[in-house]
């Protein structure tokens, strides 16, 4: 069996206040799961001198205070934690349900995505809702998820001219990727629907509903349910 996992973390220096610890290579769920578990483990240790832990696809960044901990000391701590990883009690990744109103004014490009792939609009919805999407990383915009798992039957090119404004919650497809715009912004993704959930709400104690390593599932909802959830989500 081939694996992209490293035997133990490899480190890179990213300035005087952070290092990158890589646990493998590529876009790989096993590597990403180790990143998630290490990020949780390191964060839970609340080690003095560690200010933040930021997970991504195959590595994580540790922000540290050089007045409190040196690079080699930190590296040794991370290696020793890695050895304890299998014994550590780390919760499984969660699955988050995202309600989506597909089509109509919420998903103006759903017909394009259907035609482009030679399928019906109902099939677009059916395929999009039956996959599990792994959150490899969160970034680019607050709460924006880099998702894996889009069926090749739904791939679609970006718009030639991006929209000036895409509403918050819009669900789109760009090439082999699917995702949700947490905030209103300009954007070139093909829009197939919209979620009434506020994926990023800075005033909430938990501003986002998920973390890197979790799984997202989309669920098709009616206009009534969309409106009902929208009312509950008003800040």
């Amino acid at each position: 069996m081939t694996t992209n996992l490293y035997e133990r973390a490899q480190f890179r220096i990213s300035g005087d206040r952070s290092l990158l610890a890589a646990y493998g290579t590529g876009v790989d769920q096993a590597v990403n799961d180790k990143v998630r578990r290490m990020a949780t483990l390191i964060t839970n240790q609340k080690l003095p001198g560690i200010d933040a832990v930021v997970p991504s696809y195959c590595n994580l960044s540790v922000h540290y205070n050089p007045l409190k901990i040196g690079f080699s000391e930190l590296r040794d701590v991370l290696w020793s934690l890695e050895k304890k990883l299998n014994k550590a009690d780390i919760p499984e990744s969660r699955t988050i349900d995202i309600p989506v109103r597909y089509g109509d004014e919420f998903g103006p490009d759903i017909d394009f995505v259907a035609q482009h792939n030679g399928i019906s609009v109902d099939e677009v919805i059916q395929i999009h809702t039956c996959s599990a999407y792994h959150i490899f990383a969160i970034g680019f915009a607050p709460g924006f998820c880099y998702l894996g798992g889009l069926s090749s039957r739904l791939h679609a090119p970006r718009l030639e001219t991006p929209r000036v404004r895409v509403a918050a919650g819009s669900v789109g497809i760009a090439g082999a990727q699917t995702g949700v715009y947490p905030l209103a912004s300009p954007g070139g993704w093909r829009l197939i629907g919209r979620t009434p959930l506020r994926l990023f709400a800075p005033e909430r104690p938990q501003p986002i509903l998920y973390q890197a390593g979790d799984t997202i599932r989309f669920r098709s909802v009616s206009s009534d349910e969309f409106n009902h959830i929208s009312k509950l989500e008003i800040p």
């Binding site: 890179r12 220096i13 990213s14 300035g15 005087d16 206040r17 952070s18 990158l20 290579t25 590529g26 876009v27 990020a39 200010d51 933040a52 832990v53 930021v54 997970p55 991504s56 696809y57 195959c58 590595n59 994580l60 960044s61 922000h63 050089p66 007045l67 040196g70 690079f71 990383a137 969160i138 970034g139 680019f140 915009a141 607050p142 709460g143 924006f144 880099y146 947490p182 905030l183 209103a184 990023f200 800075p202 005033e203 501003p207 986002i208 973390q211 890197a212």
Partner: protein, 313 residues
């Protein structure tokens, strides 16, 4: 909370900033905060604030505003011809203002970003632990946006100073900037061009903003045997990103993840120099090791502590 500032003209890019939002990277929320944290701290200390109070950061063209309460103010950073009621006033010095006073700042004549602190700090709501504005994320500061005419900014509780405070020197921002940087995180992609990177002059372009400072200069190429691309990964302020066109971008404080390789990273105590660079200035990167960088960091923190004590006396 007291209304303190009524904006007449906000200037070209004016936001509320504090020391930033350090614990939200994993949610895709960057640190934000004052880009020149040196000028930021001194502005606060000059008016008796702690260093994490919120200030106004003004880029290239400063603000004009009415004062609504008795307060101490201080402007640091870029020189922008500070005037109160038309009368020139020194920067890097506390000034006592009264209701009805009109404060004006103009074009930056030296440096790029000026900082205005007021006793008690700019008191907008905390969002995820910080008052910093992150315009891209529509959060923090005043409604997550740039300041506009007619905006009113409150200040927090603060006592007026017993005597005027002044920094005994005036920092200048040179046109030829030397910036210390540590190779990496992707130094192994640029082995052939590393010497050129550390021996060349680059020019700051006008396409620079709070996300990054864009440079032009000799093309920095990846080694022929280096991977063509990397999977997106966490980035840090100071990372010197090299896109395919070979023209470096020094990342500042408004990104969390990126998919470009970084040849080197500016040390944290030199990021403010980058933040004060103006289009047309030249930059040369000076190679330091991680150990040297940590020694510089310790000295820098000690230097800042000394200034704080000096200004409090």
């Amino acid at each position: 909370m007291t209304d303190a500032i009524h904006i007449i003209s906000p200037g070209s890019y004016t936001t509320v900033q504090d020391m930033g939002r350090c614990h939200a990277y994993h949610m895709g929320v960057p640190v934000s905060g004052s880009l020149d944290d040196y000028a930021h701290r001194i502005a606060n200390w000059l008016v008796g604030n702690s260093s994490d109070c919120a200030v106004l950061e003004m880029s290239m063209i400063g603000a004009q505003f009415d004062v609504l309460c008795d307060a101490d103010m201080a402007v640091t950073g870029a020189r922008m011809n500070l005037r109160v009621n038309g009368r020139p006033c020194p920067e890097w010095t506390s000034i006592r203002v009264r209701p009805g006073d009109v404060v004006e700042l103009g074009m930056a004549e030296n440096g790029c970003r000026a900082y205005l602190a007021i006793g008690g700090g700019i008191d907008v709501s905390l969002v995820m632990g910080s008052r910093s504005t992150y315009v891209g994320g529509q959060l923090g500061g005043l409604k997550g946006r740039l300041l506009l005419p007619e905006d009113i900014l409150p200040r927090g509780e603060g006592r007026l100073l017993n005597k005027q405070r002044s920094l005994p020197w005036v920092p200048l921002y040179p046109e030829n900037i030397f910036i210390r940087a540590i190779p990496g995180p992707h130094d192994d992609f640029f082995r052939n061009n590393m010497d050129m990177f550390f021996s060349s002059f680059f020019t700051v372009t006008a396409q620079s903003n709070r996300m990054g400072c864009r440079l032009v200069g000799p093309e920095i190429l990846r080694d022929p045997d280096a991977p063509q691309s990397i999977v997106s990964e966490p980035i840090m302020p100071g990372n010197v990103q090299v896109p395919a066109d070979g023209q470096p971008i020094v990342l500042l404080k408004e990104q969390t993840i990126g998919g470009y390789t970084n040849i080197a990273t500016v040390i944290s105590s030199d990021i403010f120099r980058m933040a004060q660079a103006r289009p047309g200035d030249t930059v040369q990167f000076i190679h330091v090791t991680l150990d040297e960088a940590h020694r510089i960091y310790r000295d820098w923190i000690r230097f800042l502590d000394d200034i704080k004590v000096l200004l409090n006396d």
